[in-house]
Amino acid sequence: MTDSLDADRRFVLRALACLLPTMACARTSLPPLELWPIPTAPVPTAVFVLGRQYLAAHPEENDLGTLRAALGLDVPEPDPGTIDDFDGAIRHDLQTRDVVELEGWQLSRTECRLYALATLTLTTPARVHSPDARRRP
């Protein structure tokens, strides 16, 4: 269990690290708009907010093994390149209408599981609000 948890944590951290150059890429000049700019939350905070909401709504998945299996990550050392495969999984979710509503926002099942996995691996288990998590020391 500990080995798997470490692998997941490494996977998520490496995936986030891979993204850093992407996040810092050239900025576009936005056209003048009268729409509503939304300041984004820090990425980890945002991911955890959604991850916790998903796990609270789906306590049956509040388990690393279940989430890993659902995401196809039940291998000893997931490759950060695996994230490319999630694009196909998300498209498949839409084809099969496997869509999750979080406060009305329409998200794919796979993306919610990714947020949940990041939440379980990058926060202490006790922070995850579910009956199982609260029972842990």
């Binding site: 995936a15 891979c18 993204l19 992407t22 996040m23 890429c25 050239a26 900025r27 576009t28 936005l30 056209p31 003048p32 708009l33 009268e34 729409l35 509503w36 700019p37 939304i38 300041p39 984004t40 939350a41 820090p42 990425v43 905070t45 945002a46 991911v47 907010v49 959604l50 909401q53 994230i83 490319d84 999630f86 694009d87 998300i90 498209r91 839409l94 869509v99 509503e101 979080l102 406060e103 009305g104 926002w105 329409q106 998200l107 794919s108 993306e111 990714l114 947020y115």
Partner: protein, 525 residues
């Protein structure tokens, strides 16, 4: 020449062409018939200014739509409803004219290409750029850049409305028509009945609120009083025809359609969108271009859907006030992060920020025989029965709206362009309130925004009540807009539309009027 019927001292008028109704269609016809060698009489129920006593003639029964729908959306004034027209122009899509097996009673007897030259002339009349008939975008004036159109996925295509502000045909054409030698504009004359012999209208009976009666005899009559009044006048013309003129098959008044509009949700959009186009791109003082994302014909065919166009709510517009929810910031950051990782967010757009916008949909309505105008028991000042409108959203209307919103949300997610928050997920659209759009108060709009309670708005696009078909068993007028079985009676306006598409109707009304004018110019007396 202008004549006020209240001061006219003759009991009868003889003319070549009598056009009843001086709105977009009637004025267009009268202008196009100038210098044709024919004397034209253009009859208008109101005058040059709107009055309460003429507004009262627009009383109607509309049990299923609130907000004074039929009294508010009809105007008895020279210029008709162009006096309050918002100026949205867009040709009907090619699919609108085609017979679509998944849309019952669809199909025009004419091909869309037949209207292309008339659309071009209509654009000139209104003062907008013509459209490229093979594409979806306007052909801009030489000094303007061509728009770069993009859509979120293959299921949607961007088409661009041109919005011409302050286009009141009454103001625009008053001098031209009142100074013309071969046109007489007769104001304050309400047509209450058409009296016909076996195969032709003999005369139209006009009345004034001051008690005068005038009979008009003409070689050709054109009914151009709008989608409600055209049907009402035919139904009320019962002399020798108990079911009404042109109504042997009980089709007059049936197949009524409007364009339901609905606040359907909110979207978080990542940078990279040409949002300036979708939120409205001002070209000059009176002309704005605004993109809307319409479902493609291929997608409609694959899913069995009606046409619909998604628009973004601009700040300050009626749908421009999305609420902020606790999860918005989290979704904006996390989903944007994920879409960058997937490579979905557009190249060069990976700035950690998002724009939130309201989404609204304007959709086509399926032609349904039970959505109909009939005559009520109650009567107006001329003792003519009021129109009664029975209207509701049917199954296909609701499914199409729901699916269009869902498909748009899926496209955003699949292509990594943003996320959707839908207000329709748990809503049965057959049971939501429907109200006349312009009657919506700021307070009501705020409540709709705040409670995210779906409410259907209709804008008075009265279509379908004298639908066009070459088969008299399926339509009131033929492909030339002539009433089946009545040789000298034509109908102009959106009441002849067999299907309404998802675009505003006025440009097509003008194009069809120009086409009818060409026919009347060349017809033998």
């Amino acid at each position: 020449m202008h004549v006020d019927a209240r001061e006219h001292d003759q009991a009868s008028i003889r003319t070549d062409v009598c056009i009843i109704g001086a709105g977009a269609a009637g004025i267009t016809l009268a202008v196009a018939l100038m210098n044709s060698g024919r004397r034209t009489l253009l009859v208008e129920s109101g005058g040059f200014e709107r009055t309460t006593e003429h507004d009262l003639l627009n009383a109607a029964e509309t049990p299923t739509i609130g907000g004074g729908y039929l009294s508010g959306s009809r105007v008895r004034i020279f210029g008709g409803t162009t006096s309050h027209w918002t100026g949205f122009c867009l040709p009907l899509s090619a699919a609108t004219f085609a017979e679509r097996p998944w849309v019952p009673d669809s199909g025009w007897p004419i091909d869309g290409t037949e209207l292309h030259p008339f659309y071009e002339r209509a654009c000139i009349q209104i003062g907008i750029d013509p459209w490229d008939p093979d594409a979806c975008d306007p052909i801009p004036s030489p000094e303007l850049p061509r728009l770069s159109l993009a859509s979120p996925s293959d299921e949607f295509e961007t088409r661009v409305y041109q919005i011409r502000r302050r286009t009141h045909f009454g103001d625009q054409f008053r001098d031209m028509l009142t100074e013309a030698d071969d046109v007489t504009l007769l104001t304050h004359a309400t047509c209450t009945e058409l009296r016909a012999s076996e195969r032709a209208v003999d005369h139209a009976l006009l009345r004034t609120l001051t008690g005068k009666r005038i009979e008009v005899q003409a070689n050709a009559f054109v009914l151009a009083t709008g989608g409600i009044e055209n049907a009402r006048l035919l139904l009320a013309s019962t002399q020798g025809r108990p079911k009404g003129l042109g109504n042997d098959r009980d089709l007059v008044g049936r197949y009524y359609m409007d364009h339901p509009e609905l606040l359907v949700g909110e979207a978080l959009l990542w940078p990279g969108w040409d949002l300036d186009l979708y939120a409205g791109h001002r070209l000059e003082d009176r002309l704005v271009q605004m993109g809307a994302m319409f479902t493609t014909t291929a997608h409609q065919r694959a899913r069995g859907l009606l046409q619909a166009g998604i628009q973004l709510g601009r700040a300050g517009s009626r749908w421009g006030n999305p609420q902020t929810h606790a999860t918005d910031h989290a979704v904006a950051a996390a989903a944007f992060w994920l879409d960058c990782a997937r490579g979905g967010a557009r190249e060069g757009a990976c700035v950690p920020s998002a724009q939130k916008t309201s989404l609204f949909v304007r959709s086509e309505q399926a032609p349904a025989p039970d959505n109909r105008v009939t005559l009520a028991e109650e009567r107006d000042a001329f003792d003519t029965p009021l129109p009664r409108l029975q209207w509701r959203m049917n199954e296909l209307d609701c499914v199409s709206l729901q699916h269009t919103v869902q498909a748009f949300g899926d496209a955003l997610l699949r292509e990594g362009l943003g996320r959707l928050r839908s207000f329709l997920t748990h809503t049965d659209l057959r049971h939501v309130d429907t109200i006349y759009g312009p009657s919506l108060t700021d307070e009501q709009r705020e409540r709709i925004n705040l409670e995210q309670r779906p409410t259907i708005l209709v804008w008075g696009h009265h279509m379908g009540t004298t639908r066009m078909s070459d088969d008299p068993a399926r339509g009131v007028v033929d492909r030339h807009c002539q009433v089946h079985g009545v040789d000298n009676l034509h109908v102009a306006g959106s009441s002849v539309f067999p299907t309404g598409g998802a675009a505003n109707p006025t440009l097509t009304i003008v194009a069809l009027a120009l086409r009818l004018a060409d026919r009347l110019r060349t017809a033998r007396s």
